[in-house]
Structures are given as structure tokens and as C-alpha cells.
Symmetry: C2
Subunit: 316 residues, 2 copies
């Protein structure tokens, strides 16, 4: 029997680990919070998660990590905003501590890989994935393989400019009018806050009046509860997302665009208006047959993708 | 001695043919206008050009064609606006007539290939090419190979949206606010006409007053002649081009972006403002070290790229 691997998704607040076999069945799963937010605490938590998994699965042959950072081909983390990994030679360091082959990639890349190998775009070879969260992560599978750009830093699809003189972007991005301004969780929150102020008697408006902070999460929740004002806020974000998808369609001509992440949890309420914009505005031969689908994996995407990475020994 | 190939660039108004050896030296070159604009006239002109080249070079082993159309992997022309090739099984048809192996691709793809193999981006493996003309053509070399999208229809980089509620795009594109609206030859003409009307005493303004149609070509000519108003019109287009390059940089993380085509003939006058926008607005790890350069091949790009395609027997 071929050995199994461990896939680890290291998020900004927590770590999800799983043991995966060749068929990508997840046989053991554990979630833990970071034990300290400094580098030592983060690395120790990762090692503990691997040790725990190995104690139940003796045949582990490799470990894959998805981290919220740009990762260069030699396994060095760069430009990491949510974990203190910037400049860390992650792969080397982890191989020394674990005494196992280690593979590491950007978490959004791995989510794309999971969807393309076993999720909503299973069996397709040209797939673009967008993960809408605090920021927007992007992953590209082109010709059946992950495309990481010339230095492993590519696929920052949240930073496509969709409004040339638009508002400043967030975080470390010096851009303006990036897709992330409009279609991330905070973007959805802003659209919702605007709608709430304009419609004080709606459920969303009453939430604002009661002193609630209108985050993307709150807008999604109230929209799913049936409030038409919150639903229209989601739809307006969907239309802007659709503008970004027009660019993706025209540039990549993919078979599928997969949209996931917490800010996409309203599903069709967000995707249907996005699809309508693509149908109206993308080049006809490119939009025909293009699938725009919700992610199949929810919280598991990064972990499953990390498992795929480890199973292929980084060759994907 | 290894045989040579013929590279043919089939443009909207004319055909350029060349005989190329393995080192991409062009040893015979001929230009001809279409003998009739119907399908038969176009194909006959192509066959004549090949026959003429074979009469001087007896060792031709394959022919490469660049055509102004989207080309699917099986060599069928799709979505062709400038030549009557839409739906034509170009490769099969030409192989029957020429009795030689034939390879065909989109002309903008082949221009990118020429620049990446032997031009401004020679030796680099991740290169994005933009050709600014009547429209904007795009070509992607990713990981050393042409990327054509899932059905050979990708890399329509002129149709990235840079202004979500911008003006309608041109030609067959149902989009709004595409890069092509702003940074194509017609876009440059519009920027120039606007500037001319605002500054009637400038050289550009006087050209307008004299009844001249302010095309991109006219704006470039007068800007190169030193008129500051025309130069500022070029710079304003450069800044909008720069917004498109921010998206390209963030999405592809290429080593180089090569800009060519007639509407880019002012060179640095256009590229310098574009570079400034990229320096200010692209993600720092992506913009660092990114080359933004003018194309090395001028009118020869498509023909040389068609030669590369034929020399590699389509494997590029």
C-alpha cells in the first residue's frame, strides 16, 4: 500500500491538518489555534499538528503546507501579511524539524488545485479560482498545472484593476480600484453599510441602527435571511465581481472559474449577477461554455490542495 | 544541413513571407497585397508566396502562418475580423494545397514568441506581449511556452476591463472600458483629438483646424515632431496603458512586458508614463525587476514568430 500524506492549511488565525490517501480521502482531521503569534509559536503549532497526525497514521511519506504568503519556487515565504513568515525559508526549516519531505505553496494556489483535481472543476485543465475573504486570493491551473508566475509570485487576481481611478486598495497593495476593493469581505461590508444607511427600515438598516458593524459576514447573513436590501447589496458586489470575471475570461479563456471563500457564501445570490455581466460583456467565443461555479470545498480546500501537493511531491 | 522553413504573417491588408533558418536568420523576404479579399483570393495569395519562396529555397520543411484570428488547437480559424477566415480549417486546407507540414497560430501569439525567442525578451521564460494597433493583440509566453487558453482562444489582453463603467469597446467586443478603448491606435487618436480641440494653437490643434483627421498615427507623428500637446496626449495614453500593465504584472508576475505595434511607435514617450504607473501601483514584489520594454521586431515580429512555430513543428 502506498503511503499517505499530511495536508496542512495554515490560515491567519488557525491551522487545519488532515491525513490524505491517494484518492484524496481525508482520514483524520484536526484544527488548532496558533500557540503564540510569533514565528516560534507558529512553527511549533505546525510541528505539533504533524506529530499528532503521525501518531495515528504511521505511513506518512510527505507533508504539504498551504500558507497565506507568496512562496518562491525554493520554498521561501515572501510578502506574508497574516503570519510572521516573511523571509522564512519555510521548506528547509520544516524538513529539518519533521525529517520528512516538505512541500509548500500559497494557500490560494492550493485551493485552486483542490477544486481542479477533486472539486467543482474536477477533470478540467484550465481553471481559475478566486477566494473571496478578507482579501481576494487567486489560483491558476493552466494546462493542468499550477501556474505561479516567473518567481512563484503570480496570480494576484484580487489586484486586477477594474476602475482605473478607483479608491485605494487595502493592506500592502499600493493600487487603486483593484477587484479586492469591491468584491472582498470588506468590500461587501462597505456595499452593505451604504445600502443600510439608504434603507433604514430594512433588516440591514435596522442592524446598522442597532449599532452593529456591517461586515461582509453580517451582509451575507441578513441576505440569506431574506432581506431584499441586503440581497441587492450582494448582487451589486456580484456585478462588480462579474467585471473582474470578464477580464479573467478574456485573458485566460479558462474552462471554469471557481469562486469560493467566506465572502462568497451567499452562492448563487452573488454568482448569478456576476454571470449576467460575463454573458453581456465577455468576448463571445470566450464566454461560450465557460463555467462559473461555486467552490465545492469549503474550509477544506487549502488542506486538500496541500495534500495534492504532497502526493505529487510538488510536481503539480 | 537541416532544412529551412517559411514564416508568413498574414495581416489585414498584406502578407509578409520570409525564409528562416534554425538561427532565425531571415534569408528571403517578400511582401504582397491580397489578390482579392474573398477566401479564394486570400488563400491563393498565400500559396503564391510559398511557391515563390520555395523557388529560391529548395530545402523548405514546413510553413508557419500567423493569422489575425483566434485559432483553435486543431488549426481552425475562429472569430476572424480582418480576413474572411472564420470557420476555415486553415491548417488542413493549406497542408493539402502546399503538400508540406503547416502550422498556424494567432499573429499576436507569434509576435510574443518572436520577442521571447530572439527579441527584447530574449532568453526570458515568462513574457507578456501587447501589440497596440487598430486593436490590441496579446500574447503570453508562460514557463517558456505559448499559453493559448483552454481552446486556443486566450490572451485577449486588449479586453481586460480597466474602467468598469467605461465607454463601449470596439469591433466585435461587447465589453465596456476595455484597455483597447484607451490604448489602441483609435484610442490614441481620440485622446489626441480631445487635446487638439483644447489647444487650438498647438501643432496638433492646427492639424485639426486644417481639417486633418486626428488618428493615432497623426498624434504619434506630431508628438515625435516635438509638439508638447501631442506628447501629453501620448503620455495620457501611456498612463492608461500603465493601468493595464498593473493588472498584467499582478496577475502574471512576468519577467518582461513587451509593447509593440504601430500605436507604440513613440516608444519611451508612451512607455515611460506607463512604467511610472506600474512603479506606483503594482504589488511591490511583482513590480521589482519587471522589465517593460519596446518590441525589438517591428513589422517582422509575426513572420519571425511564424518561422519559430514552423521550426518547432508547432511545439512551442
Amino acid at each position: 500500500m502506498t503511503g499517505r500524506v499530511i495536508g496542512i492549511d495554515a490560515g491567519g488565525t488557525k491551522l487545519l491538518a488532515g491525513v490524505l490517501d491517494e484518492r484524496l480521502d481525508v482520514q483524520h482531521r484536526s484544527l488548532r489555534l496558533w500557540r503564540g503569534r510569533d514565528l516560534a509559536g507558529v512553527l511549533d503549532t505546525m510541528v505539533e499538528a504533524v506529530d499528532e497526525a503521525r501518531s495515528v497514521a504511521g505511513d506518512i511519506e510527505a507533508v504539504g503546507f498551504g500558507i497565506p504568503a507568496l512562496v518562491s519556487p525554493d520554498g521561501v515565504a515572501r510578502f506574508s501579511t497574516h503570519l510572521p513568515l516573511e523571509g522564512v525559508h519555510f521548506r528547509l526549516l520544516m524538513e529539518e524539524r519533521l525529517e520528512l519531505p516538505v512541500f509548500v505553496d500559497n494557500d490560494a494556489n492550493l485551493a485552486a488545485l483542490a477544486e481542479q483535481r477533486a472539486g467543482s472543476a474536477s477533470g478540467l485543465s484550465d481553471v481559475v479560482m478566486l477566494t473571496l475573504g478578507t482579501g481576494i486570493g487567486g489560483g491558476l491551473v493552466l494546462g493542468g498545472r499550477l501556474y505561479r508566475g516567473s518567481r512563484g509570485l503570480g496570480a494576484e487576481l484580487g489586484h486586477m484593476v477594474i476602475e482605473m481611478d478607483g479608491p485605494p486598495c487595502q493592506g500592502n497593495c499600493p493600487g487603486r480600484g483593484c477587484l479586492e476593493v469591491y468584491a472582498s469581505g470588506p468590500g461587501l461590508g462597505r456595499a452593505g453599510a451604504h445600502a443600510a444607511a439608504a434603507s433604514p427600515t430594512s433588516a440591514l438598516g435596522r442592524a446598522l441602527a442597532s449599532g452593529q458593524v456591517i461586515t461582509g459576514e453580517v451582509v451575507s447573513e441578513i441576505a440569506l435571511g431574506g432581506d431584499p436590501v441586503a440581497q441587492e447589496a450582494v448582487a451589486s458586489v456580484g456585478r462588480r465581481l462579474g467585471v473582474g470575471l470578464v477580464t479573467i475570461a478574456n485573458v485566460f479563456n479558462p474552462e471554469a472559474i471557481v469562486v469560493g471563500g467566506g465572502a462568497a457564501r451567499t452562492g448563487e445570490m452573488l454568482l448569478e449577477p456576476a454571470r449576467a455581466v460575463v454573458a453581456a460583456r465577455a468576448l463571445p467565443p470566450v464566454r461560450d461554455g465557460l463555467l462559473i461555479v461555486h467552490a465545492a470545498f469549503d474550509a477544506d480546500a487549502g488542506m486538500v490542495g496541500a495534500g495534492v501537493l504532497a502526493l505529487s511531491r510538488g510536481d503539480c
